[in-house]
Every structure is written in C-alpha cells, then in structure tokens.
C-alpha cells in the first residue's frame, strides 16, 4: 500500500482505558538444558504475581482470556505449544490464542491482550511470551530463521536471514552513515552501552564491560556489522497482566495506563514501493524538504533505510496517547536493537530524530541514563535493560520483557527487582560489587518498540502513570 485512505489513518481508540497491572520475567540464557519451556513460563508468571503481593492462584482468578506469544513452533518442535503452556499454567478451560509475528511477537501479544480488555470482552487478560531456541545447532537454527523470509524468493538464497537483513544495513551505512569511521564508532557505542547496562540486570544473558575497540575488533558477520553489533539468541519467558480500571485497582495500588498499536510492511524487502513519508506529530513537510540533497541515495522512502511498519506503529500510537514529541513527552524507551544499525534506524522511524539524523541521539548522549558528555541525566535513556544486545532476544518474550522493564521504572521499583541479591543468587549469579541502580528518576511515561524481521510487523506500546496521561 502506498496511498492511505482517511479510514486507514484513523487514530486507534480503546473503548475503555486499559491498565497494566503487573509483569514478570524468567532469567534469560542461550540454553536451558535442565528446564522445560513451561518451567520458564511459570517462573515469569510467579514473578508477576509476587510483584503485586499475590499468589499465582489468587492472580489466576482474575484472568478471563489468555494471549500467548511464541514465534517458532519448529524451534520448540511442538505445534500448539500454546495449549501446552496454558494447561501447565492451569488456566483451562479459559479461551486462549497464540500470536506469531516474528520478532514483534511479544509486542503483538500485548496488542491482542489489550484490545480484549478495551473492547469489554475480558476484564483481565494474560499476555505471556517465550521462545525455545536451544534445541538445534546454530546452522540449523539459521536455516529455521530463514524460513521467516519468503520461502520461494529468498530462503533458498543461502538460508541465512542475516544476509537478507544486512542489505538494508548496507544501504543505511552508505547513504546516511556515509561510510564514515565516526559513524561506525557510534554504532559500536550502542553495543558498549547496552552490554554495560546488562551488567546491572540479573535476568540478562550477556552482561559485558567492553569498549568501542572491542566491538570494532569482533568478527565481521556482514560488513559493517560485527558480532558485537548483533542481538542475542535466547531462551526465556515474560508476561504482563492487563485489566480494565476497576479490576486493575482491585488487583494492585498503582496500575499504569497502556496504549498499544501496530504497523506492518512487506515480508520481502524486494516488494517495498516508493511513497511519501508519513509524518509524526513533531515533523512537518519542511522536515524532509531537502533530504535527497542532504543524503544522496536517500530519495526513495522507505527504500532500505527506514522501517515503514515502525513509522506507522508510532504514527498511530502518538496520536492515540497524545504524544506530541517523543523526546519531550517520554522518560525512557526500550527499543528493538536487533542490530546497532537498526537501533539507529528506529530512532528515526519513531521520531526521536528525523530520518538521516539518528546517530545524533547517541552522539549527543541523550540515550544514556547519565549523559557522558554533560554528566547530567540523559534526555531519553534507551534500553536500560540491556536490550536485545545485552539482555535477551527470546523472540516471543522480547516485547513483553521491554514493557515489564518500562513498568519497573515508572513504578520506581527498578532497584527492588534488579538489585535484589537473592534474585541474583537464584540464577546462580553474584550481584556485582559495582552494581548500579539504573532507575530513571521520576519516570512517568515510557515506550517499547517490538519489531519483526526486515520490518514486516512492528508494535508500539506506551505506558504512563494515570495522572500523567496526555490524551484527555
């Protein structure tokens, strides 16, 4: 679709407010040979119940329908895996459904669960996601992942999804990055930041104290991307409980307003057609008047340099939640940093910076908790969980993990969960002596982006304190 009708651009509306009641997570690792998937899901569910001082049994009594995010049946070698988890959680005979939208599965699961509450169908829903990616050798895993590309037109070409994805990175690198060494170092800085933040997250899979030089010396995966530019392959589970206002306040003291939207674009990047840039509330036609002159080769939109699905998810979400300018109105973001370069692309898609200027979000220091250039608070800290690069990418759980992490900040309970020495010990880890509280002080609003593959699906979830709402 390259032209929109008015109806297609309607601002999405929930028929009633939807609240996030609680959320929970398991630990994330590359492999869990000693655990079945259901054990991780139950870990996440128990964690969510504990967060609001309930027993799992008590929390289950509120749930009316269930939404399960689990992308790859073939990885877990179990069709209808959702039915297995639903049974093991003891939630039969409630209605449940599986959600599969690639890397955006977690966000899409929340989208579905929120709509069920918004419509009045359910007063309380469970959105729970997981992925089991440790059962096959890496090259067979790559073969499986490549099946998420078009099976006739792309998959036979090397059975390697990274290759299909990296052509977009290459275009961005050449056009907007201008192949500059300084841009390459900015990319590396994202990896250093996210691995570094993961050091303070007991759930995280890849805490690392590394330098820009370490990233630049890591093996090339697909030039200019190196191993440390790439996200993790993970196992783990996460969940949230959503409810209408009355139920939410019965279950907990501080429910948060939640908004959720989605966008999509072609499965094959080959099918992207030229179109005008849909503008976000903080942009005007003037913003992109000279983009082709400023960045030769960037004439085509979205070409391979933008993700239309992300732009549309933000387009709908900002209007739905009353966001005028993401940098001014939000206090933190959790973005889908599948690769350092796609992280920068996302800054532009969701309007943190205009197209072509994403790198300045990192270079200004705005994306840090503490701006390394000024020593003051970063304007809009990103991926304090460690993101997909440092924390995890357990596909069906990822978008939910991001939302849970945003919740902790808005509740001011980041340290309680991340700094709990017993939690570290329960994962067989020792809380670091230099552990830092990454709490964003006074956080009221946060955003999470969940993104699939080459941009086929993207969701935008916005959380905020009810007294900080902007839409009324």
């Amino acid at each position: 679709m390259i032209r929109f009708s008015k109806r297609q651009l309607k601002t999405p509306r929930f028929l009633r407010d939807v609240y996030l009641v609680t959320g929970g997570q398991s630990e994330y690792r590359r492999a869990f040979p000693e655990k079945r998937t259901e054990e991780l899901c139950i870990d996440a569910f128990q964690d969510a119940a504990k967060y609001i001082g309930m027993t799992p049994q008590a929390m289950k009594k509120y749930i009316h329908t269930c939404y399960y995010g689990h992308f790859a049946d073939h990885f877990g070698d179990q069709l209808l895996g959702e039915a297995v988890i639903h049974d093991r959680l003891g939630l039969d005979p409630l209605g449940n459904i599986g959600v599969k939208t690639g890397g955006a599965t977690g966000g899409s699961t929340i989208w579905e669960a929120a709509k069920a509450v918004a419509s009045g169908y359910s007063d309380c829903t469970l959105a729970l996601g997981w992925e089991r990616m440790d059962e096959v050798p890496t090259d067979e895993g790559n073969n499986y992942i490549s099946c998420a590309a078009d099976k006739d037109w792309e998959t036979p070409l090397g059975h390697i999804y990274t290759g299909y994805y990296a052509v977009m990175a290459q275009k961005y690198w050449k056009v907007y990055g201008r192949e500059e060494e300084s841009f390459r170092r900015t990319l590396a800085e994202i990896s250093v930041k996210n691995h570094g933040y993961a050091c303070h997250n007991p759930m995280a899979q890849a805490p690392m104290k590394i330098t820009v030089e370490d990233v630049l010396k890591s093996p090339v995966v697909a030039y200019p991307l190196r191993a440390l530019d790439c996200c993790l392959m993970s196992m783990g589970a996460s969940c949230v409980i959503l409810a209408d206002k009355e139920t939410a306040y019965e279950m907990c003291k501080e429910p948060l307003l939640i908004y959720s939207t989605a966008g999509s674009h072609t499965l094959r990047v080959a099918d992207r057609r030229d179109m005008e840039i849909p503008l976000l509330p903080n942009e005007t036609e003037e913003t992109y008047k000279n983009i082709d002159k400023e960045f030769p080769g960037g004439e085509r939109y979205p070409g391979f340099t933008g993700f239309l699905a992300a732009r549309m998810a933000a387009y709908y979400a900002y209007r739905m939640a009353g966001i005028k300018d993401p940098t001014e109105d939000l206090d933190l973001v959790e973005l889908h940093d599948a690769f350092t370069i796609s992280d920068i692309q996302t800054y532009e898609d969701i309007g943190i910076r205009p197209y072509g200027k994403g790198r300045t979000y990192v270079e200004s220091g705005d994306c840090y908790l503490t701006n390394p250039k000024t020593g003051k608070s970063g304007k809009l800290p990103a991926n304090l969980s460690g993101g997909l690069i440092g924390c995890m990418h357990s596909v069906g759980a990822t978008g939910i993990m991001q939302t849970v992490e945003c919740m902790l900040h808005i509740h001011g309970r980041h340290a309680e969960i991340h700094g709990d020495a017993k939690r570290w010990e329960s994962y067989g880890k020792k809380k670091p002596a230099d552990w830092q509280d990454l709490q964003v002080k006074g956080a009221k609003r946060a955003l999470a982006i969940s993104h699939a593959g080459v941009g086929s699906h993207v969701t935008c979830t916005i959380l905020m304190k009810p007294d900080a709402r902007l839409d009324k």
């Binding site: 679709m1 869990f32 099976k151 070409l157 090397g158 390697i160 990274t162 290459q170 057609r273």
Partner: protein
C-alpha cells in the same frame, strides 16, 4: 564420526557430523544426569508454485518474467511492473499480466544495495561468500533480491546482467543470478548462460 551431544556447563555441546543424528539418543550432563534426547526431523514437502510457476519455469528457459497490473480502474498501480512476480495486483487484487522483462533487465539492471555474507544456514547450496544484491530495473516498482556470481564484489549503482541456470535447472530462485554487465559468456560459471 557419528553425531553426539552432551550438556557441559549448561550448554549443549555437539560433536561429529551434523544433521545426521539418530533418534532417541540420550543427552546427559557432565554428571551423567539425563537432560533429554535427540529428536531428528526429516521431511519432504510437495510444494506448489501455483500461479508463480511460469516464473520458475522461465528461469530454466533463460527468461525473466515479471507481472504488470493492466486494470485501468486500479487507483494506484495501473501499468506498474512487479518482480518478485505477483500473481495479483497488491492494490486492486485483479490478476496481473505476466510480462517477459528479460530485455529490460539486460539493459537496465543495477545494484540498489548488497551484502557479502561469509556464513550460511544449514543445507545452503550457494558458494560462499554469498554476494547478495538487490537489483533495480528501470520502470519496475520493486527491488529484486538475488546474488552476484564470480569474484567481483558488488557496489551500489553497479550495472549487472541476469544469468540463468539453463543447464540442469533446479527450478528455484537460485537459477537466477547476476554478473557484472561487462562479463563475457565464456567466463560464466558452469551451468549458467545469458538469456536465450
């Protein structure tokens, strides 16, 4: 060496020849505790190309087929050319008209983006490194993904020409590749020819 797997420090450790495991081999950790079993899958799908079959047949015949929306009432894509071949117009959903664009491709194909990939997934049939290219053709609304044959590294804007696996075609997308536009036919890899 036959395939074996065990658990060491919480990670699966694989040894031997991959993709050849026998079923129901116990997987144990370093203490001998049972963690699981091997569960190989070997299946064959009888996959239908449906309305795209002429495209894949065309590759083996040395021709490149696209489709065109010929619906005058289509508000967006009337006369738009699509490759990847689309059976129906994505806008009006009328059936598209197949169109041989081999000559257009020979004249105007150029690289929009590319990636040189040293790795592949299991069961890959292409020679590594794989030089992925995304090819633009004048007057075509989409950007086809393919690969560049030979040792020359691609560049954005490079003029390229399609080649076809006309000898023993596989009837897959790998039967289509591109070479730098100035390549001589005698220098093409075995099995590939220019258009016929």
């Amino acid at each position: 060496m036959s395939y074996s797997v065990k658990v060491v420090k919480g990670q699966f450790k694989l040894q031997g020849e991959f993709h050849t495991a026998e079923p129901n081999q116990p997987i144990r950790d370093e203490h001998g505790k049972l963690c699981g079993i091997t569960n190989p899958r070997r299946v064959v799908h009888h996959h239908s190309y449906g309305g795209e079959a002429p495209f894949f047949q065309g590759l083996g015949d040395g021709r490149l087929w696209a489709t065109r929306c010929d619906n005058k009432d289509c508000e967006v894509a009337y006369k738009a050319l699509f490759i990847p071949f689309r059976i129906h117009c994505p806008d009006c959903l009328e059936k598209n008209t197949p169109l041989d664009i081999t000559d257009l491709a020979n004249r105007t194909a150029h690289v929009y983006s590319f990636m040189i990939c040293e790795r592949s997934g299991a069961f890959n049939s292409l020679e590594k490194p794989i030089r992925f290219i995304n090819v633009e053709f004048d007057g075509v609304s989409t950007i086809l993904m393919s690969y560049l044959l030979g040792k020359t590294n691609p560049e954005i804007g490079m003029k390229v020409r399609p080649v076809f696996r006309t000898k023993q075609p596989t009837f897959t997308i790998t039967d289509l590749a591109f070479v730098p536009a100035d390549t001589k036919e005698k220098d093409l890899p075995a099995g590939f020819t220019f258009s016929k």
